[in-house]
């Protein structure tokens, strides 16, 4: 008995470091994901989505949203790197979870997929509001689109939308174009216009509106047209990523497998674009794609290799920075043509686009301005779908020393001439005076 417990203790000692594996600076993809469901049958009705996540190496932990033992943290350490909330009708989470705990979770840099549906509770709406997403206040409203619905034999009220207005971003949706429309049935939301961190990934068509399909409209609906977003994302300033969807059925096996034909279009697709859309979006959310890392900023005078402590005005300098992109498994060199550097003191004096050698090194050279002071090299890189890079390095710039000016000013030649002729004249005169006989 003693031997057994000792060996167990030894084994657990070895396992402890493994247990603390999570995402880190060197490996930004999330590992452990908590999935909150309000109905365990979602495990089987959304099995394709969960099995693709598992096959990509995620460690999914399924729990009921009202489970009283729910906890995101233990002893100050987060237990999970990502959170999927497929519980649109839950009024209160169990355990120690509430909307503040989820907001803290995202604040710590961790990712979230939140899905509402036609019976979204106030809790889910509150979490979405924190991220800048406003769901339609009417709880019986659904998105209806009479021009862009999916033609179907069994659904006659045009609430199953075939949407193809996707955001143009390779980082968020991958390089392969999603050919088939994406099927959606659920609630509409709009984005807060003052929030510049949210983005519409799947928008509704201009003829869409959000209303109760079984009752007549008595006043114009609040949300109409392309202002309605069906799926939105948010990338926080600490690069935590959040996906908010108005439809839980978007992730379901049924819509993954079903064919789609958009009303008014002759193209009939065997398989909807849902699976590709959801897979690519989950790759983006869990930092398998679009995550950048930068090395330190390197600068030196042209012809030298060391970094000087101070520059002089009108010096020629060279600047370079290394940026790598996470490919899901390793760091690859990042290739882009829009990385820029600023030479900044209260406002940018020089702003240049860096050229790349395609191996991750971005470089440029320019002349230091003729203003002296304490400047900063600033690289503030924001690209749709990529993490934001914000790097800076301070460097002072001094004016000319007294002996760095030009030695003789051409305009002053008469004065020099006067001085030297005086000296020469004195010399000659004294010579003559002394030695004349």
């Amino acid at each position: 008995m003693m031997n057994l417990s000792r060996s167990v203790a030894l084994i657990s000692l070895f396992l402890l470091p493994l247990l603390s594996l999570s995402f880190s600076v060197d490996n930004p993809t999330d590992r452990r994901v908590l999935v909150l469901l309000d109905d365990l049958s979602l495990k089987s009705s959304h099995s394709i989505f969960f099995s693709t996540l598992k096959s990509r190496g995620f460690d999914l932990d399924f729990k009921l949203a009202e489970d009283s033992k729910l906890a995101l943290q233990r002893y100050g350490q987060y237990l999970y790197d990502g959170l999927i909330i497929f519980a649109p009708s839950t009024e209160r989470f169990g355990g120690s979870l509430d909307s503040k705990a989820i907001a803290d979770f995202v604040d710590s840099g961790r990712d979230l997929i939140l899905s509402a549906d036609t019976s979204a509770s106030d809790l889910i709406r509150g979490i979405a509001l924190e991220c800048g997403v406003d769901f339609d206040e009417d709880s019986s409203a659904m998105v209806i689109d009479h021009s862009s619905f999916s033609v179907s034999d069994v659904d006659g009220d045009h609430t199953l939308i075939a949407a193809d207005d996707l955001v143009k971003s390779h980082a968020i949706l991958g390089k392969t174009k999603i050919e088939a429309p994406v099927l959606f049935r659920g609630v509409a939301h709009s984005l807060n216009p003052t929030n510049n961190l949210v983005l519409k990934v799947l928008s509704a068509s201009p003829s869409a509106y959000s209303a109760n399909p079984s009752s007549k409209l008595s006043s114009p609906p609040q949300l109409t047209g392309s202002a309605i977003s069906l799926v939105s994302v948010m990338q926080a300033r600490n690069n935590a990523r959040v996906v908010i969807s108005g439809s839980l059925q978007l992730f379901s096996d049924k819509l993954f497998r079903s064919g789609v034909q958009k009303a008014g279009s002759p193209n009939k697709y065997e398989k909807s674009g849902n699976e590709q859309f959801v897979t690519e979006l989950s790759k983006w959310v869990f930092h398998e794609r679009g995550h950048l890392k930068a090395g330190s900023l390197v600068h030196h005078r042209v012809g030298e290799t060391d970094e000087p402590a101070i520059y002089r005005i009108k010096d020629d300098l060279e600047f370079s920075v290394e940026i790598l992109e996470w490919s899901g498994k390793s760091w690859e060199p990042y290739v882009a043509d829009d990385v820029q550097v600023q030479f900044y003191m209260m406002s940018p004096y020089v702003l240049k686009t860096l050229s790349t050698d395609k191996k991750g090194l971005f470089h440029t050279s320019f002349k230091v301005p003729d203003v002296y002071g304490v400047f900063q090299f600033k690289v503030e890189y924001e690209k749709l779908g990529y993490t934001t890079l914000s790097l800076s390095k301070q460097i002072p710039v001094r004016p000319y020393r007294h002996n760095e000016y030009e030695r003789f000013i051409p305009t002053a030649y008469p004065y020099y001439g006067a001085c030297f002729t005086t000296m020469a004249g004195f010399f000659v005169f004294s010579f003559v005076y002394l030695y004349h006989k």
């Binding site: 659904d155 749709l384 000296m423």
Partner: protein, 401 residues
């Protein structure tokens, strides 16, 4: 392996429809399948459509219609619908009776199976027009016929004293008046601010009238529009000399205020759609130039519009520092000329000396040597001859201090 030919239990029969959406325009037949619970074929049956109840009206459109059986596809179908089967939402009530009496004990079914059916059809839109009317008199300032299938290039202009009127007629394939679920007119300003208005339909015509006008009562009396739907809204602002109507409501939300006093070009879009409509439309009718009064101090500002995400993220314009241009100095030639002028007296001095007949006898005394050394050092310093030995000696002495 199940064998359900056990006469102790009756086998339930299930009625299902492969498609619950029927197109009235395309004249598709209604198809019904009947199978047993385990999926095997049902025996010969008599399937009857007992009733077809429309959600809006009372009474059934179809009564006790028997469905024909198609042996190839094993479905029962109904291919002819009565003349008054219009678009809309129905509940079909089916009754199944087995043909042979013997089977009555073997198979059981529900007494009546109710299935919701949606009947769709192509709705025709006719007589669409758009016109701007002068409010007082009701006279038409400009009127244009609309072709809603094309994106129009209708261009109108109006000010806040005029009305905009957009009548049209919607009829079902059977010729009845159709009231769609979605009938919007959207006015979109250049600054992306949008306004949506509902078209209320009543009677025969649907019509949208936007009254941008001061006087509520006047427009109510003025409606030739008594049996036609309209939107009437009124402004709180009035010029001084306007007559006060007897029923003035200070808390009316004026249309001008609703439009945030934004004058300019508005795009008009007409969107008509319904679940039973097979040809829902979104039509860009054209533009209207609206001339609205000036915004007063306390009026609400238009809501912020979201910025285009693609423009937010692009690279910024390059900035290169413009170096200070050095002051414009006089030409070099000028200074050389003056240099020459300055050297002239020295040359004149030398010439004068030779004229006087100087001659140099004994060579340098100490004083002379010392003076010339000092001068030499001075010159060397000025010319920055850093490699001269005396200079170097002096420099090292200075540094030691």
């Amino acid at each position: 392996m199940f064998v359900l030919y056990d006469f102790r239990f009756a086998v339930p029969l299930i009625l299902s429809l492969p498609s619950t959406v029927i197109s009235v325009t395309k004249k598709e037949p209604l198809k019904v399948k009947v199978i047993t619970v385990l999926g095997s074929k049902a025996p010969a049956l008599n399937v009857k459509l007992a009733q077809a109840l429309c959600s809006g009206s009372k009474g059934s459109v179809i009564n006790n219609q028997e469905l024909k059986f198609d042996a190839d596809s094993a479905t029962y179908f109904l291919d002819s619908f009565p003349k008054n089967f219009d678009v809309g939402k129905y509940t079909f009530v089916f009754e199944i009776l087995p043909d042979e009496l013997a089977h009555e004990k073997v198979y059981i079914t529900e007494a009546q199976t109710k299935v919701p059916i949606a009947a769709t059809g192509a709705i025709s839109i006719e007589n669409a027009e758009i016109s701007v009317l002068d409010s007082d008199v009701g006279s038409v300032e400009s009127q244009k016929k609309l072709d809603l299938t094309k994106d129009g290039a209708v261009s109108l202009s109006a000010n806040h004293l005029q009305k905009l009127r957009l009548p049209y007629q919607l009829t079902t394939p059977l010729g009845h008046v159709f009231k769609p679920h979605q009938a919007f007119i959207k006015l979109k300003h250049e600054s992306q601010v949008e306004h949506v208005f509902l078209v209320k339909a009543s009677g025969k015509k649907s019509e949208l009238v936007i009254v941008e006008f001061l006087n509520v009562l006047l427009s109510q009396e003025n409606s030739l529009l008594s049996n036609i739907g309209h939107i009437e809204l009124d402004l709180p602002e009035r010029p001084e000399k306007a007559p006060r109507p007897p029923l003035w409501k200070e808390d009316f939300l004026g249309l001008v205020e609703k439009l945030y006093y934004l004058s300019g070009k508005y795009e008009i879009q007409l969107i008509i759609g319904d679940a039973s409509m097979e040809n829902s439309l979104l039509s860009n009718i054209g533009h209207i130039e609206l001339d609205l009064p000036e915004r007063p101090e306390k009026a609400p500002r238009p809501p912020l519009q979201p910025t285009d995400p693609y423009s937010r993220y692009g690279p910024k314009a390059e900035i290169s520092h413009i170096f200070r241009v050095p002051e414009k100095l006089p030409a070099k030639q000028l200074s050389l000329v003056f240099l020459g002028l300055i050297v002239l007296p020295f040359i004149a001095f030398l010439i004068g000396l030779t004229r006087l007949g100087v001659n140099i006898k004994s060579f340098p005394s100490l004083v002379g040597a010392a003076t010339s050394a000092v001068l030499l050092l001075y010159v060397l310093f000025l010319v920055e001859g850093k490699l001269s030995i005396p200079f170097l000696i002096l420099r090292s002495l200075h540094q030691k201090i």
